[in-house]
Symmetry: C2
Subunit: 130 residues, 2 copies
Amino acid sequence: MENISSIKPTESELEILHILWQLGKATVRQVNDELSKNREVGYTTTLKLMQIMHDKHIVSRTEEGRYHLYQAEIGEEQTQQLLLGKFVDATFRGSAMRLVMQALGNQEVSLDELEEIKKLIAEKEKNLGN
Amino acid sequence: MENISSIKPTESELEILHILWQLGKATVRQVNDELSKNREVGYTTTLKLMQIMHDKHIVSRTEEGRYHLYQAEIGEEQTQQLLLGKFVDATFRGSAMRLVMQALGNQEVSLDELEEIKKLIAEKEKNLGN
DNA sequence: GAATATCTACGAAAATATTCGTAATAAAAT
DNA sequence: ATTTTATTACGAATATTTTCGTAGATATTC
């Protein structure tokens, strides 16, 4: 990926990216099998999507004999970060704070997870305190 | 809105909703003026979008003389909550925790805001502690 | 009161995203 | 070696979202 901040995978592409992030390298068949666990989807549909993603350089591929092995070209965290920024802008008018408040208030978060978040806040406060 | 969990405003619709949430009631002209502050957009484009939103029952309208006065039919927090849930699923595979960590780690959040978040966490821990 | 401006309604074009059918090719099985 | 199976390439149909042109109605201005 050259143009790093212009990433905008569609929802379907994101589904495929998640599978590739999990599997590392995968054939269209493997990805399609994974997708099929959740919903009906034709093999050529998945193939086409992955070809488009290849055109867009968000996945790379190598030929292994007769197959193509696909691999994500953009990192999971990096992508989440970018999508998060856009989502915050679109839905929370740029206020990450409000997003966090809503997420903590209403989404499922466990006690252990809250502890981790507290640690992160403590560190962040230390840095901001400078 | 009858079918509350099937809300899925598009990005353009969300932009308009933000304006309506802010203004309360507004004419197409007012909304279009607001939109135009950010980007080029034709009046009839905005009109059409708002008509579609009316068809979908995500806004209501009353006739005031020659104008129509539009008003959001879905609440801001409620909508954000729904979109947040979908976003967490699509982008963070359902882990609100990871979203919060990333948001705190990389988005802009001030010291004061961190304090507020800490308060929220404290309360939530009290409840979860039961 | 004629011209101008400002609305709404509506259809359809344009842009984007998703789905799939068909053909070509290569491998595997019989 | 012929048939069956699995793969890629490609075009096109379908669906969704966004944009806008045109027409008709009603007010406003000169």
